[in-house]
């Protein structure tokens, strides 16, 4: 008996380690042949991983270190591009006339952060009953600590689009582009979509230092933490069914037929897959079945790997060697890219999110729609690789001579390789109606389900986010207290 955690992504690993350290007998089942989920070869930013969770799980003793995130370089056709540091003091020289506004913006974000963090680091508020007025009041107080001007500004810009919010502050379109791109990952929005500022603020509130060694180092530390806490770790153990009897989860059946019994099951695969595919359809009330059927999880992510035979030289700044780059010169490039998502077509030019070292580069494309008209064929996959080179060429003229496309993952490939329903890396789009007490739905946001002993802990539940570990941590807390 004990607890079974389904899904060995970052949230599953965090939850398994937390539960095992709390004294539970935990078995972690991963369907793929490696742990880490989207942190093992898809997403590369680790700056949203919660340092509090790292401390609670004592990941430092497993070799985990944090550092200031590397600056992002945005090349331009004219001028010398923008090397953007997160720290405003280091960014000032590059930013020129925007330096003061950027310092003010960072200051505002730092003041808002405690309020936003208070939403992210605890359970979503229960807004269906009147009982928990106190926690709601406490959250209100966190807001109250802000100055009047900050509250007004928060209320003014929260529902607005990032394009307006950022353009009224900054002159340099490269700066606006860099900050917008961050806000839009995991959403189905462009910079001119309403409420995108709210997702920008949430994203900023989650981000801080990044893990030294990136996602692979984080996954290794989490696996080590699980091992030392006594978690039984299994790969290639794909769950086919969560067995429910008399309204209670009593174990799982793996593909191949093996049955594992458990007192409780924590699913860190997406909530929709958990409830609509892993559970027999007659075990779930129609309210939750309907909520999950209506959950939006339209993936927009593709990945291209480049093998490099020489350094990537940006024409606007030939002397500069960077590890992070963003190819997009204007926020409206992002909007046009979103247009192609919206209209289900191939983008004509690609904004690119690049992580590179001496040997190669991993390029994330956030405007490739899972719902492409005609589907993702092999020809379309090739087209995506070619488009990547073509989009880089104006900025890195030598790209075709130094780079070879080695791996293209279309959204459909990502969906199957990483077991992501809809190809969505967070199991549910980030949008105001799918956040907080509505993530993934009003009655499922507090990690419990109508099925006794079955809990939800993927990034499809509150508070969502990329590689943050928070949903798994909160779900483990709920399960541990049950």
């Amino acid at each position: 008996m004990g607890v079974i955690v389904i899904g060995g992504g970052h949230n599953g690993l965090v939850a398994a380690a937390a539960l095992a350290r709390g004294g539970q007998a935990v078995t972690l089942l991963e369907g793929r042949d490696c742990f880490g989920g989207v942190a093992s070869g898809l997403l590369h930013d680790t700056d949203s991983f919660s340092p509090e969770i790292a401390a609670e799980l004592d990941l430092a003793s497993r070799g985990l270190e944090f550092q200031e995130p590397a600056p992002v370089f945005l090349p331009s056709r004219e001028g010398s591009g923008l090397l953007l540091h997160r720290d405003p003091r280091r960014a000032a020289k590059e930013l020129g006339e925007d330096a003061e506004a950027y310092t003010a913006w960072r200051g505002f974000l730092e003041r808002v952060r405690p309020f936003a963090a208070s939403q992210l680091n605890q359970l979503a508020p229960d807004i269906r009953t009147s009982a928990p007025l106190l926690p709601l009041l406490r959250r209100g107080l966190a807001l109250r600590r802000l100055s009047k001007q900050d509250i007004h500004e928060l209320l003014r810009i929260g529902p607005a689009c990032v394009y307006d919010t950022l353009s009224e502050r900054f002159q340099n379109p490269l700066l606006v582009t860099a900050l917008s791109a961050r806000a839009l990952s995991g959403t189905w929005m462009g910079p001119r979509s309403p409420s995108s500022t709210a997702t920008l603020l949430l994203g900023e509130a989650q981000s801080g230092q990044e893990v030294v060694g990136g996602a692979p180092a984080l996954v290794a530390a989490l696996v080590a933490a699980c091992e030392s806490a006594g978690v039984v770790l299994r790969t290639c153990a794909r769950v086919q069914r969560i067995q429910v009897n008399q309204g209670r989860a009593e174990g799982v059946t793996l593909e191949g037929g093996e049955f594992l019994s458990a007192d409780r099951v924590l699913s860190c695969v997406g909530p929709r897959r958990t409830l609509l595919e892993l559970v027999e359809p007659d075990s779930l009330p129609i309210r939750e079945a309907g909520q999950m059927a209506n959950l939006r999880l339209r993936g927009t992510l593709a990945r291209v790997c480049l093998e490099l035979s020489g350094p990537m030289v940006y024409a606007c700044r030939p002397d500069l060697q960077v590890t992070r780059a963003l190819i997009a010169e204007d926020p409206l490039d992002l909007e046009r890219a979103f247009d192609s998502v919206k209209h289900r077509r191939m983008p004509s030019e690609l904004p690119l999110d690049i992580r590179q070292d001496a040997r190669g580069a991993t390029v994330l494309i956030r405007c490739a729609t899972m719902e492409l008209k005609g589907g993702w064929t092999a020809a379309r996959r090739g087209e995506l690789g070619e488009l990547t080179l073509a989009s880089l060429e104006p900025f890195v003229p030598t790209i075709r001579s130094i780079a070879r496309v080695t791996g293209v993952l279309t959204p459909a490939d990502i969906a199957s390789r990483f077991d992501l329903e809809g190809g969505h890396e967070m199991h549910g789009e980030i949008s105001l109606d799918q956040l907080g007490p509505m993530r993934p739905s009003l009655t499922l946001s507090r990690h419990t389900t109508p099925i006794g002993g079955l809990y939800l802990g993927s990034s499809g539940t509150h508070p969502g986010g990329a590689i943050s570990g928070r949903p798994g941590w909160l779900a483990a807390g709920v399960l541990g207290r049950s």
Partner: protein
């Protein structure tokens, strides 16, 4: 504009009246003459033939069909054997009635579902995860109801299925007037009767063959007015009249659970995994609030009330679907304790009958209540007694000659 069923040209030609009404989007005859009396007596003394085609009809197939239907309907369809029909309720997630209808098991992976209203959207929405195909066959499948004490004899003349051995709520495939179809021993009259399910294009031929075969037995084509009187005598509730489908209710108070509508017997709360169960378990724990009762009005009081106004007692020509308030007996209280939703004079029982939803403390047989009764635009009350429902329940309704030959008494 209502649509025409497969039988429109024939029924229109047979009607001497122009009494059409809309039934689920189709034109349906209310009666064939100026009055439905002849049709009513055909149901009770020979047989009546009704075009049932507007009924919503679905074919559900697939390896999960039974499990899927058991999730949607209040009865355990997984235990329904091939050749049997179940009458059941459709509830929403809060256990409130959406509709009632029948599920017929044609073979272990093929079911025929009927309902008063169209539910394809609901059926499809809740089919996720089940291996089933749901086809709306309302337009492709015509249906005829042949109801009355002589219906078996008439139908036997043109069909090869052994009707003497066909039990109540059985269904069988077979040929009727040379046409492939299904016959079920079901109906909405509380009498011996059959329902015949055939392809749209075959409907006229079968209808005509039944009229010819039935002529020596005084078979009559019947309309909805005669049917309405018969179904009240049989104590059957009607969706939209005796209870309102939860999806059409603007307030919670108007919604009904199966128990409220007298259909609690179709519900098995021990069984898991069906829509509405959790809410109905709560209802059972808290105690249901309403009950459906049959009322018989005091005829002497009706006569006396009319005579106060210098009138002979007056009976409506058809069953009445205007709900009237029901008050506690004794006449002291002016606070309604329920409502009578269907009422009719029963020509067979010679009494005035009502179906009423009342608070459960008034459900005992013999309980006296007061129901609103209007004479000369003045609202008065008449004493009504709770009587057994069905009001009219002949043995022939369920009797199967060749299955139980010793009990034959009719």
């Amino acid at each position: 504009m209502p649509r025409r069923t497969a039988l429109f040209e024939r029924t229109a030609a047979l009607m001497t009246s122009v009494a059409w009404k809309e039934w689920a989007g189709y034109a349906a005859p209310c009666n064939f003459d100026a009055h439905s009396e002849r049709e009513y007596f055909a149901i009770r003394h020979s047989a009546g033939l009704l075009d049932l085609s507007p009924l919503s009809k679905y074919t559900v197939t697939g390896s999960d069909a039974a499990r899927y239907l058991a999730r949607l309907w209040t009865r355990d369809i997984t235990r329904l054997k091939p050749g049997r029909v179940a009458y059941a309720c459709l509830c929403d997630g809060e256990g409130k009635l959406l509709d009632d209808g029948t599920v017929a098991c044609l073979d272990p992976e093929t079911f025929r579902v009927t309902s008063s209203e169209a539910w394809l959207g609901w059926f499809e929405r809740h089919s996720r995860g089940f291996t089933v195909q749901i086809e709306d066959c309302t337009d492709q499948l015509a249906a005829l109801a042949l109801q009355g004490p002589l219906s078996r004899k008439i139908l036997q003349e043109i069909c090869g299925v052994d009707l003497d051995g066909m039990r109540f709520f059985a269904v069988a495939a077979g040929r009727i007037a040379g046409v492939r179809g299904w016959i079920s021993r079901t109906g909405y009259t509380g009498d011996l009767g059959f329902e015949i399910w055939i392809a749209h294009e075959d409907a006229l031929a079968v209808y005509d063959a039944l009229l010819v075969a039935g002529k020596p037995y005084n078979l009559e084509p019947i309309g909805l007015d005669a049917l309405d009187v018969a179904r009240i005598e049989a104590g059957f509730v009607m969706q939209g009249v005796d209870y309102i489908s939860a999806q059409h209710c603007l307030t919670e108070a108007r919604k009904s659970t199966p128990e409220d509508a007298g259909l609690g017997w179709t519900v098995n709360l021990e069984r898991e995994g069906w829509i509405g169960r959790e809410a109905l378990l709560r209802e059972r724990a808290e105690g249901p609030k309403w009950a459906l009762v049959g009322l018989e009005l005091d005829w002497a009081e009706i006569e006396a009330l009319h005579s106060e106004y210098g009138l002979p007692p007056h009976l409506g020509p058809v069953a009445c679907r205007n709900a009237v308030p029901v008050y506690p007996g004794g006449g002291g209280s002016k606070t309604p304790v329920g409502q009578a939703t269907s009422s009719t004079w029963s020509p067979t029982l010679k009494s005035y009958l009502m179906l009423a939803q009342v608070q459960r403390k008034f459900l005992a047989l013999g309980t006296e209540l007061q129901v609103e009764y209007t004479v000369e635009f003045e609202r008065r009350t008449i004493t009504a007694r709770v009587v057994p429902r069905p009001f009219f329940d002949p043995e022939r309704k369920t009797f199967t000659p060749s299955a139980t030959p010793r009990k034959a008494s009719q």
